[in-house]
């Protein structure tokens, strides 16, 4: 992406930002995050279809924040994450510049987060066909079958927390899983503990997850934990009309409507 490299250099040279976050060639056929702090490094910037890591995960990291204002090469999911983070007061116009990459791979530089929000709102969050099929398949199973499915899927999880590290929304300084007074979730990896950990994570992401699949992509065991958040996304849509990250929006789970509908409370 020539445009991106050029713009990154300008931004660094003019000291408009201190760091540009983008992608570079990693080992093998993988890409990885690149933090450009001097203009020579900008030449390493690449962008192609392999660049699926959600770079928004870095913007709440202390080490990055301390560097000063940052620019982020942001694909649609990254932009959504940024807006969600902004609505949670984790990032503001003062500390981020968004270099948007459209789904057509065009570079757009946004003047402020409001413009990013406007851009993002043109696209609805949609679950891809393959995952939809998977969700349907699970839906059709009996309850014990589903139970067994998840116990089996989650059994190998050894709590490396790569999912948490990759998720831009998991920026909490203290995760409930690390909480020990009381110990909500057992420290070692156990069948039930794993399930509890992932249920808890899915609940915490309800109304916030923007379906970037970073958790799944990061999982060394390729456990389909993203199905949990996808399910929540669909439910949010079904029950509450869905949500879009918004700078000044009401958050799905911290608000309510007096006429929220359910059919199970007696």
């Amino acid at each position: 992406m020539v445009d991106l490299i050029k713009r990154a250099k300008e931004l660094i040279e003019s000291s408009s930002v201190k760091v540009v976050i983008g992608y570079e060639q990693g080992t093998g056929n993988k890409t990885r995050a690149l933090f450009v702090e001097n203009s020579e490094d900008a030449d390493k910037l690449i962008f192609d279809s392999r660049c699926i890591q959600n770079l928004a995960a870095y913007i709440t990291k202390k080490e990055i924040k301390e560097k000063g204002k940052m620019a982020v090469a942001a694909t649609l999911p990254v932009m959504r994450s940024i807006i969600q983070l902004a609505s949670e007061f984790q990032v503001t116009d003062a500390n981020i510049l968004v270099l948007g990459i459209t789904p057509e791979s065009k570079l757009i530089e946004f003047g402020n987060l409001a413009e990013v929000e406007k851009f993002v709102h043109q696209y609805e969050i949609e679950i891809d066909v393959r995952n939809k099929e998977m969700l349907d398949k699970l839906e059709k199973m009996t309850q014990p079958e589903r139970w067994q499915f998840w116990i089996d899927e989650l059994a190998p999880c050894f709590k490396c927390y790569a999912c948490r590290a990759a998720c831009p929304m998991c920026y909490c300084s203290r995760c409930t899983v690390d909480f020990n007074q009381p110990q909500w979730i057992p420290v070692p990896s156990t069948e039930l503990g794993n399930l509890e950990w992932h249920i808890m994570r899915a609940i915490h992401l309800t109304g916030r997850c923007i379906d970037c699949d970073a958790c799944y992509n990061a999982c060394p065991l390729s456990i389909p934990i993203n199905l949990l958040t996808k399910r929540m996304l669909l439910d949010a849509k079904e029950h509450f009309g869905g949500y879009q990250p918004a700078l000044k929006g009401e958050h799905l789970m911290s608000t309510y409507k007096p006429d929220d509908k359910e059919n199970f409370i007696q």
């Binding site: 949670e88 007061f89 984790q90 920026y171 909490c172 300084s173 203290r174 995760c175 409930t176 909480f179 007074q181 009381p182 909500w184 915490h204 009401e250 958050h251 789970m253 911290s254 608000t255």
Partner: protein, 667 residues
């Protein structure tokens, strides 16, 4: 190590009839941390309480579990007893062996086992109880009443008469509100102004009441007992101290054709004006939008004729800052203008008027001096039609709710018309007659039976003008929807009562909630009708929902009692069952990450942003902070916080977790 005492009560035989109390006490005595355990016939009796107190002092108990009746019954009793013995009252918990166990289960092993479980849950909980101190808040004993209608007047007088100071602010030049516009009042038909004006004068003369008319609330901060309000006194363009109210200026003012707000546009007023003759204060204000001097830069007739030199063209708005302990909101309501029904032709046909306009026509102080004459040509209408629900109960174009007061005032209007226009014919189109209230149904029946008002059940579809008559076409739904067409001389629309314009902004200034219709929300629909969710702020009258005069007055007195109760002590004591955001040593300061999602979850706007600054004053971190004055202790934020940074005293994470563990694991 905890030293817990367990006290099992027989409650006479209420508990012991089905629960083996001795066994419960004996079992509890074997648990870790329980140093004393006993059963007794009446734990709440004096000897029973002494038993607890003695055990506290003798055994040095650190926690107490009383296993008896519901804590909703005796928790205060036993906590007080503990406190008297020197134990922090919040170290005492109750297991509900009576309502939740002995009374609802048959005698048997299972029932005793359940009783043991219930005690164990609380024994384990108490191990994690912390000593808490009640929250004390000082109280500034001055009340602010917003709105000088009948509700505001009543509230002010009631509070002032308990000996406390009141500041009453009114946005218009005079107090009196809608009630001062009314002709007669239902169901007694006594003259509205005759009963209202003495109270208005009383307000003006009361030593405890400071009255600011032409004034609005600018901002409010603080919390119960400790509010700070800024009041904007809009410029009246006169020096009130010099003005004697002689009315020279108002008679001489050359701008005479401004539609009078007080007469609902049916009469005219001048640019410098007193809204109505009985106004309090009876001193004029200059309406700058219409005054020739302010528009063209010259005139000043009022200044020339004023004998005391009281006119002040350059007067500016003033901001007054006051400290207050409680607020009564009595801002009232307004009527929805019916021009959203083009099919009724309001605004197009001069003789289609609103109910409030009819009040002015029927009022002796009104533009026709109380004669019913139609606006277009001053003719006395021979046929008059009243339409109920012109906007109310109409989700499509109006409001879905019932405005409540219309059925009664329509009956009153029709009655007044029949009394004033002999031989006149009056019709009322209605859907239901809602006349619940003392003497109300009788009043409506009187209109129908004695005064011959013709009630037709059906909604009118259209009103149009033809040959000087208003054709009102509707149906009689009680006659298989038979068409009814009336050639009327005048039509009165019972327009919906709606929240004031700007109600939303005011609510936001006051941090109180409002319903979807922008009426202010009461704290509880049944049991806290005059409280808001913000402690120390109360509601009176139609700002909460459409209300008639008796209800408004009752609410005002209710709100006044709440204020007086609050002012009866120098300090406010509140249970410390509130949420707290954790604080840790630097550099962490708090595990809160400052996402502030809890802010919108809090029903009381009790969560604020706190900026933690370093020595140079730079913000290092923004974290949530609970205002103990506002928090009511529901814990909704607690279950919501992802980092579990908020906890609620008395129901902490550790306590609740422990209860679950204790319940299911046998020790």
């Amino acid at each position: 190590m905890s030293k817990i005492g367990v006290f099992v009560c027989h409650c006479g035989e209420n508990i012991s009839a089905t629960v083996d109390c001795a066994k419960v006490a004996e079992t509890a005595g074997n648990w870790d941390g329980v140093t004393f355990s006993v059963d007794y016939k009446y734990m709440c009796s004096d000897p029973g309480q002494s038993l607890i107190k003695n055990a506290i002092t003798e055994k040095g108990l650190t926690g107490v579990v009383v296993a008896s009746c519901s804590p909703r019954m005796h928790e205060p009793t036993f906590r007080k007893a503990c406190a008297e013995a020197g134990l922090n009252p919040f170290m005492c918990e109750m297991a509900n062996l009576r309502e939740h166990c002995s009374w609802v289960h048959e005698k048997g092993e299972a029932t005793t086992e359940k009783a043991i479980d219930l005690v164990r849950i609380l024994v384990e909980k108490v191990k994690y109880n912390h000593e808490l101190t009640s929250i004390k808040v000082p109280v500034t004993k001055t009340a602010l009443v917003i709105g000088g209608g009948i509700a505001g007047i009543q509230a002010s007088l009631d509070i002032a008469n308990t000996g406390h100071k009141v500041i009453l602010i009114e946005k218009d030049p005079s107090i009196g509100g809608h009630m001062s516009q009314l002709s007669e009042t239902f169901p007694t038909l006594d003259c509205s102004q005759c009963i209202l004006t003495p109270r208005m004068v009383e307000v003006a003369q009361h030593p405890n009441i400071t009255l600011y008319t032409y004034a609005e609330l600018e901002s409010l901060e603080g919390f119960i007992g400790n509010f700070k309000a800024k009041i904007r006194k809009k410029s009246k363009s006169i020096d009130e101290k010099l003005c004697t109210g002689c009315a020279q200026c108002t008679t001489k003012c050359p701008v005479k054709k401004i539609p009078s707000e007080f007469n609902e546009g049916l009469g005219k007023r001048t640019a410098i004006y007193v809204p109505f003759p009985q106004a309090v204060p009876n001193k004029p204000v200059i309406d700058r939008k219409n005054c020739t001097y302010y528009i063209k830069g010259k005139c000043k007739v009022c200044e020339i004729v004023c004998p005391t030199g009281a006119i002040r063209f350059d007067q500016e708005d003033q901001i007054v800052e006051v400290e207050i302990g409680a607020i009564v909101i009595a801002t009232g309501f307004t009527v929805k203008q019916p021009d959203f029904f083009p099919e009724y032709g309001y605004g197009k046909h001069a003789d289609v008027i609103t109910g409030l306009q009819f009040e002015r026509l029927a009022s002796a102080s009104g533009p026709t001096l109380g004669e019913i004459r139609r606006p277009s040509d001053g003719k006395v209408p021979e046929k008059i039609v009243f339409l109920a629900c012109a906007g109310s109960r109409d989700p499509a174009k109006g409001i879905p709710y019932c405005s409540k007061i219309c059925c009664m005032y329509i009956a009153k209007h029709a009655m007044l018309y029949q009394h004033k226009v002999h031989g006149g014919k009056s019709y009322v189109f209605y859907m239901d007659i809602r006349a619940g209230g003392k003497q109300y149904e009788e009043f409506v029946r009187r209109a129908i039976e004695d005064d011959g008002v013709n009630y037709i059940r059906g909604r009118v579809s259209k009103i149009y003008e033809k040959n000087g008559k208003l054709i009102v076409s509707g149906v009689d739904t009680l006659l298989n929807a038979m068409p009814v067409e009336i050639e009327a001389d005048m039509v009165v629309l019972a327009t919906a009562g709606v929240a004031n314009e700007g109600a939303e902004e005011l609510a936001q200034k006051l941090h109180i909630s409002y319903d979807p219709y922008k009426f202010f929300a009461e704290a509880h629909p049944k049991l806290k009708p005059v409280e808001t969710n913000t402690a120390g702020i109360f509601l009176a009258g139609a700002c909460q929902a459409p209300r008639d005069i008796p209800e408004s007055v009752a609410m005002a007195s209710g709100a006044a009692v709440k204020v007086a109760g609050l002012f009866s002590k120098d300090e406010l004591t509140r249970e410390p069952i509130i949420a707290v955001v954790n604080r840790q040593a630097p550099p962490v300061y708090s595990s809160c990450v400052g996402c502030f999602l809890c802010v919108s979850a809090c029903p009381y706007q009790a969560i604020e942003k706190e900026e933690i600054k370093n020595r140079n004053g730079e913000v290092i971190k923004s974290v949530a902070k609970v205002n103990p004055g506002l928090c009511q202790g529901c814990g909704t934020c607690v279950a919501f916080c992802r980092t579990k940074s908020i906890d609620i005293q008395g129901y902490t994470h550790e306590q609740m977790y422990t209860e679950v563990m204790a319940l299911l694991n046998e020790y």
